[in-house]
């Protein structure tokens, strides 16, 4: 193998109370896509933070471009050609694309006369780079008008303008819709052919087999294995990540669908929702597929009263229901597990117990005064039933892993005893083990007669868990597929509006 671009040997990093990295080796060759996988807390983020100069290792050595190197600050790493494309896109919404490409430290080398900004030269070089990527970008447009995929392009172009040798991508497909993922992958292959080394981090194992050359698995701060992707398998990776073999994913048991619990008739909202009608039965899991922006979350928000619809009818167990506020939805028996767990689902500094009781605190109160004993009893009950791994109900939710946090959100809504459960991307960013548990829980809840509406961008999850799949495109339901007839291809055809 060729001389590595970047080589880390025996990297150790200690945080108060925990050994985040324990003698980790990692090498990246020019023109290679090297995937980094592991459960939450395995040490991936710490490792990329050390490469990008956010953290300093306590022990170990870094060689970069064939010589020992240290990156005392993110700026130092960036100046030497190490670029990070974060999950949360770090751009300036008010500024133009052109300015976003250069802003900050990267403006300075380009200045000509004194401290004046040389717009003409900046534009010429930017056009060159954008053209070389074979994409179109309006350099004058303010960034807040761009789509998530276009914003990611801006980040990639920015990295190239800085002559990046190493690009680290942290869950880059998170905000992307399916066709954009394909485009991103071809862009990654193009970067690879230019000799850029790419560190690719993702929870979605399919992507790793689609785009990576090698894969390194981390677990509990240690490197478990590094192998060419061709020599490993999905099951082997999962085994290395969790340290045990998981039972089959998607344990959907067949449940006989009962009476209709939720009937939606011609729901409309501006251009975002157009005449959406469907029926959800007791014991049924209905999948809701569609690209980002197709109206899935808008529909969920409309049903839950966060953004009430303008027209249309909703009936619960055959009775007309008007939902104009989430509080009403809760009282009517509709629960919603939101898309953004940490922002919408949890009060992170609140103890686990107080998060679990948040939606039903009024019911646990008398004359407005909280019955703390009953509250604790309810919280303990859900910690046990959902197997939430926490040292206690007084521990802040922030201290839990992503999967356990998600279980707290689920528990909060099960406590409200809903008839209809809407789950929006319930396993996004959740590690493999917790994912399987959430799927098992869904199956069990449906078995007990709950109607579940499952929104997911992960097609295997939709196919594995749903009794029926509704596909949305531009605010409309463009098709319905039974469990036995649904395939990824059929869903994508309906979701892209080709049919």
């Amino acid at each position: 193998m060729a001389e590595p671009l970047l080589q880390l040997r025996g990297i150790t990093k200690q945080f108060p109370g925990v050994l985040a990295l324990d003698g980790v080796d990692f090498a990246l060759t020019a023109g290679e896509v090297h995937a980094l996988v592991g459960e939450n807390g395995a040490g991936k983020s710490t490792l990329i933070k050390i490469i990008s100069g956010v953290h300093q290792p306590d022990a170990g050595r870094i060689d970069y471009l064939g010589a020992p190197a240290t990156f005392p600050t993110p700026r130092a790493a960036a100046d030497r050609g190490i670029a990070v494309i974060y999950q949360e896109i770090a751009l300036f919404g008010d500024l133009s694309v052109l300015e976003n490409l250069y802003v900050g430290a990267y403006l300075r080398p380009l200045r000509t006369t004194g401290r004046r900004v040389d717009w003409a030269r900046m534009r010429a070089r930017a056009q060159e780079v954008v053209a070389s990527l074979g994409v179109e970008l309006d350099l004058g447009a303010p960034v807040h008008r761009l789509s998530a995929a276009q914003q990611q392009l801006v980040e990639i172009a920015r990295a190239l303008l800085r002559d990046a040798r190493v690009i680290i991508m942290d869950e880059p497909t998170g905000p992307l819709a399916q066709p954009d993922v394909g485009r991103l992958f071809s862009l990654i292959r193009q970067l690879r052919s230019r000799g850029v080394g790419i560190v690719y981090i993702s929870h979605r194992l399919e992507e790793i087999f689609a785009v990576a050359d090698r894969v390194t698995v981390l677990r509990d701060g240690r490197r478990i294995i590094t192998a060419p992707v061709a020599h490993t398998s999905r099951d082997a990776l999962i085994h290395d990540m969790v340290g045990r073999t998981l039972d089959a994913l998607y344990p959907k048991s067949a449940v006989k669908a009962g009476a209709p619990v939720l009937e939606v008739d011609a729901l409309s909202k501006d251009a975002a929702l157009a005449d959406v009608s469907f029926v959800l039965h007791r014991g049924e899991i209905v999948g809701l597929a569609g690209l980002v922006g197709s109206g899935r979350t808008t529909l969920a928000h409309a049903l839950f009263g966060i953004d009430p619809p303008q027209r249309g009818r909703v009936r619960l167990d055959g009775v007309d229901a008007r939902v104009s506020h989430p509080g009403q939805a809760r009282e009517l028996g509709i629960a919603y597990i939101p898309e953004e767990r940490q922002r919408q689902g949890l009060v992170l500094p609140f103890p686990v117990g107080e998060n679990l009781s948040l939606a039903i605190l009024r019911r646990l109160s008398r004359l407005g005064f909280v019955d703390h004993a009953r509250e604790a009893a309810v919280a303990r009950d859900f910690v046990r039933r959902l197997d939430i791994r926490t040292p206690g109900i007084n521990v802040p939710a922030a201290a839990l892993s992503g999967g356990n946090q998600q279980k707290v959100v689920v528990g909060k809504w099960l406590a409200a005893q809903p008839r209809v459960l809407i789950m929006d991307e319930p396993t996004r960013g959740v590690d493999v083990g917790a994912k399987a548990e959430i799927h098992r829980l869904m199956s069990e809840l449906a078995g007990r007669g709950l109607g579940i509406l499952l929104i997911s961008s992960e097609l295997p999850e939709l196919l594995g868990m749903s009794d029926r799949i509704l596909v949305m495109h531009r605010g409309r339901i463009t098709g319905e597929l039974r469990r036995d007839e649904a395939t990824q291809e059929k869903i994508m055809t309906l979701a892209t509006g080709v049919a």
Partner: protein, 346 residues
């Protein structure tokens, strides 16, 4: 009920006792009943306004218009009385005006969704300006003794406003620690969105908080007018800074989610005792303002240093690694209790 004190409340009690002893040694006037009575009368005004302010800051808001509101409602009362309305109905109408002003703040903040700091910065000018405009630049004097008793009277030797304040502290503390809405207020300060997604009517709570702030400010405005015997448009000028300083000194975090009524009470006592002592030492009011500003800045810095160290374990949302770190660290039972209860004092 067992009272558990936070570390900073213990520090504040120490500070309070320390400065009291120091002032008693430095001035023979300080520790006299007459002076302490005068000091508590002033403390009650600051302390009353500080109660809803504590809750508002916990909810991650702020109300800069409180002092202007005190002047506006006192002026309303004075003008009505001057035009022949009996003094107590006039006071009730003044309080109604102040409550309405608070409600207006809350309405623009909760319904139109303009940031609280912008709204109340503007209404700080508007309410004071309307008071000035209404007064035409002159004060109103000569209120009947029955009204002046509100500012100068005592019951069993305790000033009337102090009794009102103590009642307010008790009610505020119980409300904030024992009720569902009190819990929601902390939640709004930490993560308003999550509260909305949990089916809680955040807007109504926010509206209620600013309305309550208007009501209490107006009440304090009446007490102020009764204490100084005049309704004037420049009443209580600069009080907003003193109130906010006391609340922050008491440990309420400007970034929301943290704070206690007990802490605020201690903050108010320390600030007012300091001001009183400095006045006795003939330190000009202007220099006192500088000192209060310094205390505020110092308090913000000290508390952040302390919180900053804890943050590594607890509140670092977008970093999955650290959650995991927290999960392990927190197996120490003493530690996780401390974290859970840092926020609130039962």
């Amino acid at each position: 009920m067992r009272i558990r004190l936070l570390w900073r409340e213990r520090v504040l009690i120490g500070l309070l006792v320390g400065s009291g002893v120091l002032l008693a040694l430095l001035s023979d006037v300080f520790f006299t009943p007459a002076n302490l009575l005068r000091a508590t009368r002033y403390a009650a005004e600051i302390g009353l306004v500080a109660l809803p302010m504590t809750m508002i800051i916990i909810s991650r808001g702020i109300d800069l218009s409180v002092a202007s509101n005190m002047a506006l409602s006192a002026m309303t009362m004075g003008l009505l009385w001057q035009r022949g309305v009996p003094v107590w109905p006039a006071a009730a109408l003044g309080i109604a005006a102040g409550t309405l002003a608070g409600w207006l703040n809350g309405w623009v903040i909760a319904r139109v969704r303009v940031p609280a700091i912008v709204v109340t910065l503007a209404t700080l000018a508007v309410y004071r300006g309307v008071a000035t405009g209404l007064s035409g630049g002159t004060g109103i004097l000569g209120f009947p003794d029955s009204f002046l008793a509100l500012g100068a009277g005592t019951v069993a030797g305790v000033p009337i406003q102090t009794i009102i304040w103590i009642a307010g502290i008790a009610a505020g503390a119980v409300f904030l620690t024992r009720t569902a809405v009190g819990r929601y207020i902390y939640g709004i300060g930490h993560n308003e969105t999550a509260l909305r997604f949990s089916g809680i009517d955040v807007d109504r709570i926010v509206l209620g908080l600013y309305t309550a702030s208007g009501f209490v400010s107006a009440l304090a405005g009446m007490i102020y007018a009764a204490r100084v015997g005049t309704a004037k448009s420049n009443a209580a000028a600069g009080y907003e800074l003193t109130v906010i300083t006391a609340v922050v000194l008491g440990g309420t975090s400007l970034t929301g989610g943290e704070g206690t009524i007990l802490g605020t009470m201690l903050g108010v006592l320390i600030i007012t005792i300091l001001q009183n002592g400095l006045t006795l030492a003939r330190v000009p009011a202007a220099v006192q303002d500088v000192l209060i500003g310094t205390v505020l800045v110092g308090a913000v810095l000290t508390y952040r240093e302390r919180a900053g160290r804890k943050e590594v374990f607890v509140i670092a949302p977008p970093q999955p690694e650290l959650h995991h770190v927290g999960g392990r660290v927190l197996t120490d039972p003493g530690n996780d209790l401390a974290v859970g209860e840092e926020r609130r004092n039962p």
